[in-house]
């Protein structure tokens, strides 16, 4: 049971939240320009990394706000949280595996 620091409410139990998958995947501005493979990459393919992972969470049973979490998937350590639209803090890079 993680203890997640919601940027709006403070530390709360994981059961109040819902994980929303990998962060910083922007919806393509012009989907028609994409090949099927590129579209499928946006639609289905996500990193499954051991180590630092940037992911989205929503405080479903709290403020209902979405935010980003930098979490180590091996240790579950939460390095930091930051708001939607913000860039990941310095030193935390995404490094997408292809």
């Amino acid at each position: 049971m993680l203890l997640i620091p919601c940027p709006f409410c403070g530390e709360r139990e994981e059961s109040e939240f819902h994980q929303g998958g990998e962060a910083h995947i922007e919806r393509p501005k012009n989907p028609d320009k994409l090949s099927d493979a590129e579209w499928a990459d946006y639609l289905f393919l996500r990193d499954n990394k051991k180590g630092l992972y940037l992911e989205r969470w929503v405080h479903r049973h709290g403020c209902r706000r979405w935010f980003n979490v930098a979490r180590d998937t091996a240790t579950n350590e939460i390095k930091t949280v930051y708001k939607m639209g913000a860039k990941p803090p310095r030193g935390l890079t995404k490094g997408r595996a292809k």
């Binding site: 049971m1 099927d36 929503v58 579950n76």
Partner: protein, 1006 residues
């Protein structure tokens, strides 16, 4: 005296409180302070059950959670608890317990013949024997389950209740032994908020079982003083009878508390409660678990752990036998010999058999001084007595420890105290991702690096001497408090504790006999699952290299005791069989919660019965109840299903309701429909993006049906949305999807399109909705409102504000039945008034309340879909023939996916209607559809399925059955026949269009 093994004095039991209990129907007595195990031993009960696979007689081995054999079925009926370790159940008056794995009883068991065929039941025998032919498994399973049964489930609802507690603290100390007490006392003295949890009814841990001294007095006096100091600290919580069963991420620890020795008597007290503790720091003072020596026939009743025997003597005043032998590889077991020797005339020490040559520690010297015979450099090579130890065979052990020498000698004894050293209990440390490091010298795993804010102290950290435990515990407690922010700690005085000098142990993992392992007697590693050293060696020969695989193959350590005694020896045996020099290199299996079994009742807590899930009721609920409706659960909502009149069955009631709607007027409580209020200057643009059709040009007061897709192009939800003003819409969703649709909208607004100025608010519960529907609906509404209702003034798919029966209302002219229909929305508090006004005014039109079943029939007659029924997450609008609602001029969520190859397949399933040859056949929903008639497919063949039935009803308006179905190339097949293999034979049906009633839509205006 019936308690034949009870010592005349001593122990921490209360001899003034005699307790009666039954074991397998036998009436026995014990004392307050006993466990069931100590009471059974006091009464001379040797055989407590039969083993899992071979049904060998088995006795009590341990004195705590390590016990592999003494599993009991406790109580009966609703309070029945299977697989309770006798060593962990406190005795109470009237307790009833039975053995779990024997029939008719442990002393005479019909299955024990299995042991004679042990060569036929090797490791992995399930996998080898019962795999072929596969179709026979259903016969095997029945027999195997009964033969291997462990316990029986309760037969009635549990009469007790259970609680959950949530707690936060600075320092959680797990274990109330010397290290834990010292740690908790030090942390509390620093000012930290402390929780101390211990599984026993008394704090003291190992001190309860030893004759140790601290500061020149009994060690338990020191423990009592420490407990008083902790309990006297503000905010400290001391939890006894409380086991930490799981250590989870971010210092979250689950505890289970037994709320007393005795069952609750129906009062307010819960039976158990779960503590969910979030701690800033955790000190694990969980102690150590003794491991046995693995010698031939080491499972005979009377072979016990040396430390456990010490517990029975010192704590419970019980000597498990009259003539006791000790078999050891270390000095600690000599304490057992000394304690027994001091226990009086009732018990004698036969000998100490030590695998070491010339043992020399202080305790050995004391034993020699007491005249105890020590057979050194020796091995127990056999046990006499299959139903209870009668003696042992002893031979010399060679230098390498892998063979025996010299002549065999028999020693008469009735109990064997076995000790192979102590393993730190690193289970909790491991639960939370902590690593284990192997100490090759002592053959133990020590807690290594941890991911949590935790430290291990005392025996759990590999410190086995009392002085070291107290000192290490205090240091750990002080450090944990400092880490939690309490840096100032009072000066601490170390208590005076004498320490005996102990010589190192000698690691002998399998005690040899004159024959290869397994040929002369069985060397049991895991008595609970009947796994022997020979089984593990066989697994190694068969190619199992990883302990994780060998464990699953042999089932080593997978019984209720989770291998607390046998796992480490098992790993060592595998390591030796594989030729691995360092046992640590074999690895250790991952410990997972729970440490000891947790009852489902405690996990459920109060979330049972009506409290399991909230029930949502519409404002009109009680009217439906009085009308005698039957209920359908839709998510958490209760919705009227149908309203049977005068003993009608469902079919008759639904037929009557269906006719009433098409012929006169019906009324439906549609308050449960999800309603989302959407406001903001960008609201129309937002709808453009989330719905497949266009919204910007929708006029104020106009309604539009919308389909919502996932980005994969599949249908997610549908509903009608109405424009109330330029910047104000109200969206309806399906009842079950209201919450998820709101979350979906919020996700896109917050994460992808934060620039859109839109707010979404759930207003589902703010509005009640009475829907009147049918050719007389206009006449009825005219009686209750004064707005113009003709089709020109109030056209289909529009909305008007009005007053209905004196209540301000929004009236939507939308229809889910194809009939003239008004959905009247009023503030929820006025819902019941509106409903009763309409019912009263509608009397002369034959108004008929109808439920969800009629609604489903009527909408299906029109070919209207229900999301989740005609769709399943793989259904596109095109599959349903709904291209008309898909805009080609704008982008929206899911649009790009239409072009994906899979969505372009020409054999996709399409929505069609089905009419069976026999008009009375109502096809089962979900029935599979085939192209050709197949009475009985040839064995092993696969039959191509071309689709399935999604909705199926009897229609009183059609006077026959009908169905909707998704069928491959369905639209091309219209007019053709398809087949449906059913239980009673194969049904034939004609494929039709999906609209059965009023395909031209002429009824919509009444």
């Amino acid at each position: 005296m019936s308690q034949v093994n009870r010592l005349p004095d001593g122990g921490r039991i209360d001899r003034d409180q005699s307790l009666a209990f039954t074991f397998n129907g036998r009436r026995l007595t014990g004392y307050a302070g006993d466990t069931v195990a100590s009471a059974l031993l006091a009464n001379g009960v040797r055989i407590v059950g039969r083993s899992f696979k071979y049904h060998r007689p088995r006795g009590i081995v341990g004195a705590g959670p390590e016990e592999p054999n003494a599993l009991l079925q406790l109580e009966t009926g609703g309070r029945a608890l299977p697989n309770q370790q006798a060593t962990r159940v406190e005795l109470y008056d009237g307790l009833s317990a039975d053995s779990v794995n024997c029939w008719p009883g442990p002393d005479f068991d019909l299955m024990s013949g299995i042991g004679l065929f042990h060569r036929l039941t090797p490791a992995g025998f399930y996998y080898k024997t019962f795999m072929w032919p596969a179709s026979f498994w259903k016969y095997y399973e029945h027999v195997i389950r009964r033969a291997a049964g462990l316990g029986r489930a309760p037969t009635a609802p549990d009469p007790d209740h259970y609680d959950k507690m949530n707690a936060h603290c600075d320092v959680l100390v797990v274990g109330g032994g010397p290290a834990g007490l010292a740690a908790a006392a030090a942390a509390a003295a620093s000012g930290a908020r402390v929780i101390l949890a211990d599984d026993q009814p008394e704090l003291g841990g190992r001190l309860l079982s030893e004759r140790a001294e601290i500061d020149g007095g009994p060690a338990m006096d020191w423990a009592a003083a420490a407990e008083a100091a902790i309990a006297g600290t503000e905010d400290a919580i001391v939890l006894k009878r409380t086991t930490a069963f799981g250590y989870y991420d971010h210092n979250f620890v689950g505890l289970i508390e037994q709320r007393g020795a005795i069952l609750p008597d129906g009062g307010d007290r819960s039976r158990q409660r779960i503590w969910r503790v979030r701690a800033k720091q955790v000190v694990l003072a969980t102690g150590a678990i003794e491991r046995p020596l693995i010698f031939a026939d080491n499972d005979r009743p009377g072979v016990m752990l040396a430390g456990a025997v010490r517990s029975y003597v010192n704590r419970y005043g019980v000597a498990p036998g009259k003539r006791v032998a000790v078999f050891t590889n270390n000095d600690d077991a000599y304490r057992t010999a000394l304690d027994l020797a001091d226990a009086g005339v009732a018990v004698a020490v036969a000998a100490v058999v030590d695998v070491r040559h010339d043992p020399s520690g202080d305790l050995v010297t004391q034993a020699m001084a007491r005249g105890i015979e020590i057979v050194d450099g020796a091995a127990v090579t056999g046990v006499q007595g299959s139903r209870g130890v009668r003696g042992i065979e002893v031979m010399g052990l060679n230098e390498a420890g892998d063979g025996v020498t010299g002549a065999a000698r028999d020693i008469e004894c009735d109990v064997i105290c076995s000790s192979g050293g102590w393993n730190p209990a690193i289970h909790l440390h491991s639960h939370a991702g902590g690593k284990a490091t192997f100490d090759a010298e002592r053959g133990i795993f020590l807690p290594g690096e941890t991911l949590q804010a935790a430290t291990s102290a005392g025996a759990a950290a590999g410190t086995f001497d009392l002085a070291g435990c107290v000192d290490g515990g205090a240091e750990a407690g002080k450090a944990a408090a400092a880490q939690a922010g309490y840096k100032k700690s009072p000066r601490r005085k170390n208590p005076k504790i004498a320490t005996e000098d102990e010589a190192p142990l000698r690691l002998i993992w399998t005690v040899p006999t004159t024959a290869p392992t397994g040929r002369r007697g069985k060397h049991f590693l895991d008595q609970a699952h009947d796994v022997t050293a020979a089984d593990v060696q066989l697994a190694a020969r068969e190619g199992y290299r990883s302990i994780e695989h060998a464990k699953r193959y042999t089932t080593l350590g997978m019984a209720p005791d989770q291998g607390k005694t046998g796992n480490i020896p098992g790993m060592a045996v595998l390591g030796q069989a594989l030729g691995v020099d360092n046992v640590g290199d074999v690895g250790t299996t991952t410990f997972r919660p729970p440490f000891t079994p947790v009852t489902l009742g405690a996990l459920a807590g109060r979330d049972v019965g009506p409290l399991m899930d909230p029930v949502r009721m519409t404002p009109i609920h009680h009217w439906h109840e009085l009308a005698g409706c039957t209920w359908e659960d839709v998510g958490q909502w209760k919705r009227p299903w149908y309203y049977p009149k005068d003993g009608e069955d469902m079919h008759t009631a639904v037929s009557r309701e269906c006719k009433a709607v098409r012929d006169a007027v019906g009324i439906l409580d549609a308050s449960t429909l999800g309603k989302i209020d959407i406001q903001g200057p960008d609201a129309a643009e937002f709808l453009n993006r989330v719905y497949t059709n266009a919204w910007t040009k929708l006029g104020n007061g106009r309604c539009r049906y919308g389909l919502m897709l996932g980005e994969d192009g599949m249908i997610m939800d549908d509903g009608v949305t109405t424009r109330l003003a330029d910047d104000h819409f109200v969206m309806t969703t399906t009842t079950g999807n209201a919450a998820s649709v709101l979350e979906w909208l919020e996700e896109w607004l917050q994460t992808e399109w934060p620039e859109l100025k839109v707010f979404c608010t759930s207003v589902t519960e703010q509005w009640a909705n009475a829907t009147i529907c049918g050719p007389r609906a206009r006449d009825l509404l005219a009686e209750c409102t004064d707005i113009a209702l003709d089709a020109e003034s109030f056209p289909f798919m529009s909305m008007q504000d009005a007053t209905v029966a004196g209540i301000p209302a929004r009236i939507f002219r939308i229809s889910f039945t194809g009939e003239l229909s008004y959905e009247i929305n009023v503030p929820a508090s006025c819902g019941l008034s509106l409903w009763t006004a309409l019912i009263n005014a509608g009397d002369k039109y034959g108004i008929t309340p109808y439920g969800t079943e009629t609604m489903h029939v009527l909408r299906a007659e029109k070919g209207y879909i229900i999301v989740g029924q005609e769709t399943d997450g793989t259904t596109t609008p095109q599959d349903l023939g709904m291209d008309w609602i898909v805009s080609a001029k704008k982008d929206f969520i899911g649009r790009r996916s239409f072009a994906r190859e899979d969505n372009q397949r020409d054999d996709r399933k399409q929505l069609v209607g089905l009419l069976t040859d026999d008009p009375s056949t109502v096809l089962p929903e979900g029935a599979q559809i085939t192209e050709t008639r197949l009475e009985r497919p040839p064995p092993g063949s696969t039959v191509p399925m071309i689709g399935h039935v999604t909705s199926s009803y009897h229609s009183p308006n059609l006077g026959r059955s009908f169905a909707l179905a998704l069928v491959k190339r369905g639209r091309e097949r219209i007019g053709e026949n398809v087949y449906l293999p059913l239980d009673g034979g194969v049904a034939r049906a004609e494929v039709t269009g999906p609209v059965f009633v009023d395909p031209e839509g002429s009824r919509i205006d009444g």
